[in-house]
């Protein structure tokens, strides 16, 4: 465990030192080789000691602005272009073709350059500048136009169409279908890709900018270690090295520059400490009709003869199925006729005949209750977080009032803001601890988990209560509130740290 941590934080510092700025872990396998070599180097441990140790529930990540993304792309294109001796348009196509896997591209190219160029849609002599041509006796296969003097264009594949049709075709692809990096020749079955130069020649300026936007988008979409921040209108992307296969053991929570906190694994908002797969299951469970089914099985019984579902909403135990007219006892599910004279009072409960059905009933009821226990608490924290958010909006006003009422300065009332943010974050965590707990198997660790959960919950409720105090009392509560805030945060860290470690160990 420990050595692993050291190794990881050692890496992060090394990355920043060795690669300037944002470039670092782009080069997947190359980077890995690098790390393996450098690992035994003790020099880094000194570096590490200077940095605060990373918590085991935290991951390394980096936020990219749109300009950064563009820069990155260009940088890699330049690099590849220099190595392969291809013009940058061709290098860009090659990189996009291999989904920005630089190492694979270089390797494949070194082995079979022609084959790589061919599959990427770049035939021989891709370096020429494209031009439109007027061909004598030409008929466009798309619009059937055959007027003499028609401007035509063909990619290297030689499939020639009039420029109008080409333009229409590209506009359709870019505007309506949102395609950019992999627009192919209009001919069916021809996989030649329309390169940036041809595009520049054929397409109007306003579409060109759209094309650039789409290209940038595919860059982020293509790279496994890059993801868009899912917040509305946010243009940033996050880089994080956590792989898909690690998601069962780690919850990679990242915070964008726009302040949105989300899980890099599934891009849902922060759901620590519950791992992605569990979150997915839980959300599905909560949305699903499966709970309706649970209700049915807990509150209804089936007719022992025809299996119609029956809800008993009153009356005695003598049931007559409306469908098949079967008469049975609601209590023991046995035949009514066997009840003899003990009519409205079933004393045959020990009888074997109905006991299986009763067992199933009880189990289903129990599992529903268990689910509701966790769900209610989960939903409660979600609801409270919403209320706290309203409160957060009011906090600002409170801070203003406090400034005028108590003569405190702006900086002195910041504790309210800090407290409110802590509250939000803790509730988010608490909410997911309940979903998490639902799937936990009972053992010693669950008890520790539940203790941690309880401690955090109490701390949160305590802090939440203080927020409801009138503004006039807040100034006097300042120290207390700051204490509680830091206590909340501490409890949250402890809980997350503990769960993350167990998760990593695969408990």
């Amino acid at each position: 465990m420990d050595s692993d941590d050291e190794f990881m934080s050692g890496l992060s510092s090394q990355d920043e030192d060795d690669f300037g700025g944002a470039q670092e872990s782009d080069d997947g396998s190359l980077g890995d080789e690098f790390d393996d070599e450098e690992e035994p180097d003790v020099g880094f441990s000194q570096d590490k000691d200077l940095k605060p140790a990373r918590k085991s529930y935290e991951v390394d990540y980096k936020v990219f602005s749109p300009a950064d993304i563009q820069l990155h792309q260009d940088k890699q294109i330049d690099e590849v272009s220099a190595i392969l001796g291809q013009p940058s348009e061709a290098s860009a196509i090659l990189l996009r073709h291999l989904r920005w896997n630089k190492e694979r591209l270089i390797e494949a190219y070194m082995e079979k350059p022609d084959a790589v160029l061919e599959t990427a849609g770049l035939g021989p002599d891709a370096a020429q500048t494209p031009t439109t041509k007027v061909i004598k006796g030409f008929t466009c296969d798309i619009c059937c136009e055959d007027t003499p003097g028609l401007e035509t264009y063909a990619l290297k594949c030689g499939h020639r169409y009039c420029t109008d049709c080409y333009r229409q075709y590209l506009a359709q692809k870019i505007k309506d279908e949102g395609e950019a990096a992999r627009i192919q020749c209009p001919t069916r079955g021809c996989h030649r890709i329309v390169d940036a130069k041809s595009l520049d020649l054929l397409v109007a300026a306003e579409l060109r900018s759209r094309y650039q936007v789409l290209l940038t988008r595919t860059y982020v979409d293509d790279k496994e270690n890059l993801k868009w921040c899912p917040a509305p209108n946010c243009e940033y992307a996050i880089e994080c090295g956590v792989k898909k296969k690690d998601l069962s053991r780690i919850v990679p929570t990242v915070a964008c520059s726009c302040k949105h906190r989300f899980c890099f694994g599934c891009t849902l908002s922060d759901h620590q400490p519950a791992p992605c797969s569990l979150v997915k299951q839980w959300i599905k469970k909560c949305e699903d009709d499966s709970e309706t089914a649970n209700w049915i099985s807990a509150n209804t019984k089936e007719c022992p003869k025809c299996s119609s579902t029956i809800e008993k909403n009153g009356g005695c135990n003598h049931m007559t199925c409306r469908k098949c007219k079967h008469e049975f006892c609601w209590m023991c599910m046995g035949l009514w006729s066997e009840h003899g004279t003990s009519w409205y009072n079933c004393n045959r409960f020990e009888e074997k005949s109905g006991s299986d059905g009763r067992d199933a009933q009880a189990k289903s009821r129990q599992s529903l209750e268990r689910y509701l226990h966790y769900y209610n608490r989960y939903a409660n924290h979600e609801q409270s977080a919403k209320l706290d958010k309203d409160l957060y909006l009011k906090t600002e006003r409170k801070m203003m009032n406090l400034q005028t009422a108590s003569g405190m300065s702006w900086i002195e009332v910041q504790f309210l803001d800090t407290a409110s943010q802590a509250l939000q974050q803790c509730r988010q965590t608490l909410k997911w601890t309940y979903a998490f707990a639902y799937y936990l198997q009972r053992n010693n660790l669950t008890e520790i988990f539940e203790d941690n959960q309880k401690d955090l919950e109490m701390a949160v409720e305590g802090l939440s209560e203080m927020f409801e105090k009138p503004t006039t009392e807040l100034a006097a509560l300042k120290v207390d509130m700051m204490d509680k805030t830091s206590y909340c945060n501490k409890r949250r860290v402890i809980l997350l740290e503990d769960t993350a470690q167990n998760l990593k160990a695969g408990e």
Partner: protein, 154 residues
């Protein structure tokens, strides 16, 4: 319009000659045409049957794919052919009719031929999986459906 000139030329050619098994039915305007197709071999699933196709063109045809569906008629009798890629409401799941697979070089005739060979090559007497559910719930036009093409064998 963009589509009209091309459709005019296609129509002229279609009225002159068509491959065997493909017949022109009607083209009242440049928005909607109907064609008949039948298989040429003795495939027991489709032998002695004729099927009616409806083409709907957008003004952007042939840049955009036409919408092509089988339609049901009682006079003359036209049924929906049974095929693992044809839903019982006539909607066809075929990549060349989607934005990814469509090429503006395709035309009404080539689409008819593709569908003809899709029928000829089929031996499975079945509807697509989930047909009943799809047909019951589908309120969309074919062009708005996102098909996932996973089976290239049929």
């Amino acid at each position: 319009m963009f589509a009209n000139k091309r459709l005019g030329k296609e129509l002229a050619k279609i009225q002159q000659s068509l491959p065997p098994g493909i017949d022109f039915v009607s083209a009242p305007d440049f928005k909607q045409w109907e064609m008949d197709i039948r298989v040429l071999d003795a495939n027991p699933l489709y032998a002695d049957q004729t099927y009616r196709l409806r083409f709907r063109f957008s003004p952007n045809y042939p840049i955009e794919a036409p919408e092509v569906t089988f339609i049901h008629l009682s006079q003359p009798l036209r049924t929906i052919p049974i095929h693992p890629h044809i839903y019982s409401n006539g909607i066809i799941c075929l990549d060349l009719l989607g934005t990814q697979g469509w090429s503006p070089v395709q035309n009404v005739e080539s689409v008819c031929m593709s569908l003809q060979s899709m029928l000829t090559g089929n031996t499975k007497n079945e509807r697509p999986p989930g047909d009943e559910e799809f047909v019951r719930r589908n309120t969309q036009r074919p062009r708005d459906i996102r098909f996932v093409y996973e089976d290239s064998s049929v």
